[in-house]
Symmetry: C3
Subunit: 161 residues, 3 copies
């Protein structure tokens, strides 16, 4: 089966291809206060608003969270999954497990570091027509795995035209 | 030990550095039918073919799957791992576990959402000389964790020159 | 609460927005010898040094590891977590579990493949002012999950201006 987008007719400019007109970059910082302990915060509306403000139509936004106890991913942002995702992480990196990190630093957040490293701090979301190409039930979320409230500065870097 | 690429001789143009000639962007959509339930689909050949069609030699492709029950990663695409990866996910987010998501929405795919969020919906693969820089035994795969067959539209966005 | 960066005053050029001056790309290869078996190697200093050498101030670096038994993420690079992260992976994909991959290929690294695919081979880190936007205690690491020492060639691809 031909699973690809059909090719454009001969002589046509392929949709979505820049004609050497150069790309732009814009870097924004989004302050986000969290409760920690697996708190998930929906960043989709902020990402859409910032996309509008940088005035690009086609490109991608990279979300990156500085710090080693938080992560960025997508999820259907509803009440159930806000409990189900941390419950799964409790199987992988339980809060009450013994961590060498805690033995050395006594901050009790060994599980936070492990969870954040597993999920990863970066996410890339494409956009076309000035709109993020997210699914209807798919939201961009910051997951703060630290064991206390934190003030984060999420980076949103837009590249496009 | 000097682990880095040696610097170019004085006055030389560093290989792989554009001289302000501008980058291009091209966004493509790849329809993919899946069986769900951990079905993995090798997208490498499609990614290579689309790379050829956009005519770039150096850059990167971002793969992104809209929707909150699928993920994109790389794997050695062989029969054994097609079973081993879902088996590992069963330890993290078992199908028959209790999910708050299922209690609220009754669609029985709480585990699908958790697995997809853990793996993440985006992947970035660089290319040079018009070829994806994948390892010999490394393929790009869509993992559909939903509990039923799905028609996906995977986004491949190329940035380069 | 207004969580976003305040908009620029009317008529001002938004900080961090290129004025159509075009972006550059530079691709570098970093040879890294590893011990395998969950060995983590801090790539932050190499990434910063290569960023300096490509002469960009604002943009992003994509790190990508070719091969299907290693991954790239960030972590607080200290002795405790070097043991805690592999310990968590042992819960997800235990070394001594039965893997179909091993039954077919007899290389004993089924767990390595599963761990690498879960973490993912790519990471994107933004930079501004010529500096990577990492947190103070956040380092870029290669995690080699293979069951033997490996010589890796990590790709660092810079896009920016």
């Amino acid at each position: 089966m031909n699973r690809a987008t059909p090719p454009p007719p001969p002589g046509a400019v392929p949709p979505g291809t820049a004609q050497g007109d150069g790309l732009k970059i814009a870097t924004r910082t989004l302050p986000v206060g969290t409760d920690g302990n697996g708190h998930m915060i929906d960043l989709s509306a902020d990402a859409s608003r910032l996309l509008k403000s940088v005035g690009m139509s086609e490109g991608q936004v990279t979300l990156f969270v500085p710090g080693s106890t938080a992560a960025v991913t997508t999820i259907e942002f509803e009440q159930g999954l806000k409990q189900d995702l941390p419950a799964a992480m409790e199987r992988v990196a339980p809060v009450d497990e013994t961590y060498r990190h805690n033995e050395a630093w006594h901050d009790g957040n060994g599980h936070s570091h492990v969870r954040a490293s597993l999920m990863g701090p970066s996410l890339v979301v494409p956009f076309t027509g000035g709109r993020l190409m997210l699914g209807t039930w798919q939201q961009i979320v910051l997951c703060d795995w630290d064991n206390r409230p934190r003030n984060r500065e999420v980076i949103l870097q837009f590249i496009g035209k």
